[in-house]
């Protein structure tokens, strides 16, 4: 069986347009908290979630929007939750970092790494109550250093739990380059727990779909967990209003001022070390900015390139999705 690129594309686009609407609402001050975008991860969400059925569960991290949109959670309920409204998905109590949909057995958490244990628990319940169902855990590369996630890998292998562990590797943990604080490589790390591990280009939705298929089938057939390492990008920075992406000059001044003052300060590290630190910060900012403006690894751009020939159909989907999102926003705000 082959992936249906058109429906995958539609799902990716729904997620993208939804989150773009969220950006506007956030700018208007209608959304509080740390608003983490899933922009750049749409191919992973679409390629994985497309395989899920009734009774399957999802444990999400702080970027839970795309999987929930793709899974079919009501967009108005989602938006209203983001807006903190009484009739939002969680009555305004959870917000965008704590999204819960019992019908979809989907739960998110703002605690890095917690998706692993929760997914293991979802899978344990499936093993007892819903054989053939599975649980997916979505988390980032930074979470790969969180003990409870590592423990959950072992637990899933030892108990042969139907889990698909999906690591969305954007190479960042907030302002930290993951490779700078992470030993070895993540594929070996997962394999080290005796788990089958697959690596895929997370901006290629068809590749993700194919890889996820293997893991999902293994889980459904009582074959135990699978680790899926999906490489992606983080064009919007860690969250909206990310300092390293601020356009305004004064905010840049605010950031740079104290740094420059401490450069010549008496006592401290050698000038060499200080320059090195400055270099580190500069390169982080540079990398963040280029990542925002490079289309190259945008999963949606990539699909469009592949479907260039079918412009009219692309436009049609574009229109339909835009309409769907606009309607959701209108209702949510009314």
């Amino acid at each position: 069986m082959r992936p249906d690129i058109w429906s995958l594309y539609r799902q990716m686009l729904r997620s993208r347009r939804f989150e773009e609407a969220v950006i506007d609402l956030w700018e208007e001050g209608k959304i509080s908290g740390e608003m983490h975008m899933g922009i750049g991860e749409e191919a992973i969400a679409a390629g994985v979630v497309d395989h899920l059925e009734d009774g399957d569960a999802m444990a999400l991290d702080h970027r839970g929007t795309p999987p929930l949109v793709v899974r079919g959670v009501d967009l108005v309920l989602l938006l209203k939750e983001f807006l903190g409204s009484r009739d939002g998905l969680c009555g305004g109590m959870g917000g965008h970092m704590h999204l819960f949909s019992p019908e979809h057995l989907s739960a998110s958490s703002g605690i890095v790494g917690s998706a692993g244990p929760v997914a293991a628990g979802f899978a344990l319940a499936a093993q007892h109550l819903r054989p053939g169902n599975l649980a997916v855990a979505f988390f980032g590369d930074g979470a790969m250093n969180q003990g409870m996630l590592l423990e959950s890998f072992n637990l899933a292998v030892a108990w042969k739990l139907p889990v698909l562990f999906v690591c969305k590797d954007n190479e960042w943990a907030i302002t930290t380059r993951s490779k700078h604080v992470t030993g070895g490589n993540l594929l070996d790390r997962a394999q080290g727990f005796g788990m089958t591990a697959l690596e895929v280009n997370g901006t290629d939705v068809e590749a993700v779909w194919e890889a996820a298929k293997q893991g999902v089938e293994r889980a459904r057939n009582n074959g135990g967990p699978t680790f899926l390492l999906a490489h992606c990008i983080r064009p919007e920075g860690h969250f909206l209003g990310y300092p390293l992406l601020r356009k305004s000059l004064e905010s840049m001044k605010e950031m740079v001022g104290p740094i420059l003052r401490s450069l010549p300060a008496r006592k401290g590290a050698s000038l060499g070390e200080r320059i090195a630190s400055l270099g580190t910060i500069a390169s982080l900012i540079g990398r963040t900015v280029t990542e925002k403006y490079s289309k190259r690894r945008d999963p949606i751009y990539r699909v469009r390139q592949g479907l260039k020939g079918e412009k009219s159909r692309l436009d049609e989907i574009e229109k339909e999705v835009a309409k769907e999102i606009q309607q959701a926003v209108d209702i949510a705000l009314s």
């Binding site: 569960a57 444990a59 939002g88 998905l89 969680c90 009555g91 305004g92 109590m93 959870g94 704590h98 819960f100 019992p102 057995l105 739960a107 958490s109 605690i111 917690s114 692993g116 244990p117 929760v118 997914a119 293991a120 628990g121 979802f122 899978a123 344990l124 319940a125 499936a126 007892h128 109550l129 819903r130 649980a135 003990g147 409870m148 423990e151 959950s152 072992n154 637990l155 030892a158 108990w159």
Partner: protein
């Protein structure tokens, strides 16, 4: 009515519940040995030994409970909850609120607690007040076999997360396993009524949040949980001889507190003495003072608690943990006020 040991009562009530509800599963380190009877009767799928990964398997209990199971997850000692408490603090306890009340977490964390057998400061803590600080957690601490079984049933039936603490001085299997190790050469100050007692032929739930008045008193009210409930009863008898009428209240549930029972007793006696094996500061003992004051009841107040890290040396340990003598002395001081 039959008589049963404290630990047997818990497992017996658990077995009764498991026989009637296949959603109840038990997992934790060494449960195949610690709960061998359940392991044999219900098999490895439902009584599952776990790796030493408390953060993962307590977190998994949260997910399992959300997805339809009713896990009874064992942490070998409450002291070890430190590595897994995020699953309680930020997940189990918060999920109902986060989901706007749509999703609940019917799980039980079962953990031995308490000291008095020389196991040292990392293995004898109580921590019930510490855990009760977290909104959304129910904390149960039985003091005798009948309550132990009945409260285990209500813990399992509860739709929210429950921390169920079993005191190691009352659970003879634990005390033998961790303390005497089959030796006849060591003694522990074990309260007989707590370790063995009458239990119903068929288990029925003991309500959460209801204290038990073990003794009425018009001069002073002694309030406690677990082992120290029995120390209080002993102290009350000694105080009687000195002409002091001391009542004893067994909270049974630390959270939610039975505020009525507490206020009723203290408004009558005018004196509250909290006996708490958990750490003194910022815990149960202070909360009880606040509850009575909030009710506008004037009172004289004292507390006998564990004030520092519990020493290994049996002699020092006896001085640090609450004792009948300390209870009596403090009560008499309070009487002078």
């Amino acid at each position: 009515m039959k008589t049963m040991g404290f630990a047997d009562a818990i497992d017996d009530a658990l077995a009764q519940a498991m026989a009637n509800d296949s959603r109840i599963v038990v997992f934790g380190e060494d449960v195949h040995a610690l709960r061998a009877n359940l392991f044999v009767r219900f098999g490895e799928q439902r009584v599952r030994p776990a790796p030493i990964s408390e953060a993962a398997f307590v977190g998994a209990a949260v997910g399992a409970a959300m997805a339809g199971l009713r896990p009874v997850v064992e942490v070998m000692m409450v002291d070890f909850i430190g590595v897994a408490v995020d699953a309680l603090l930020n997940h189990a306890a918060k999920l109902e609120a986060f989901s706007g009340g749509k999703w609940r977490v019917p799980m039980v964390v079962r953990a031995p607690c308490g000291g008095g057998y020389g196991d040292g400061g990392q293995h004898e803590q109580s921590l019930w007040g510490w855990l009760a600080h977290i909104p959304g957690l129910t904390v149960v601490v039985p003091s005798n076999p009948a309550d132990a079984g009945g409260l285990m049933l209500s813990a399992i039936e509860n739709e929210g997360p429950v921390v169920y603490l079993e005191h190691k001085l009352l659970a003879s299997n634990m005390l033998d396993f961790l303390g005497s190790g089959g030796r006849k050469t060591v003694q522990y100050d074990v309260p007989a009524e707590g370790t063995c007692g009458p239990v119903p032929d068929k288990w029925t739930s003991v309500p959460l949040g209801k204290a038990a008045t073990l003794r009425e008193g018009k001069d002073i009210t002694l309030v406690s949980v677990a082992v120290d409930v029995h120390r209080c009863v002993e102290a009350a008898a000694a105080l009687q001889k000195k002409g002091v009428s001391a009542g004893v209240l067994d909270l049974r549930t630390v959270s939610p507190l039975d505020k009525e029972a507490l206020c009723r007793a203290v408004s009558r006696s005018g004196r509250l003495l909290v006996v708490d094996e958990d750490y003194r500061d910022f815990g149960l003992s202070g909360e009880l003072a606040a509850v009575v004051l909030e009710a506008g009841i004037p009172l004289r107040y004292g507390r006998v608690c564990t004030e520092e890290t519990i020493p290994y040396c049996r002699e020092f340990e006896d001085q640090v943990l609450p004792s009948t003598k300390r209870i009596v002395d403090t009560a008499l001081k309070l009487m002078e006020q």
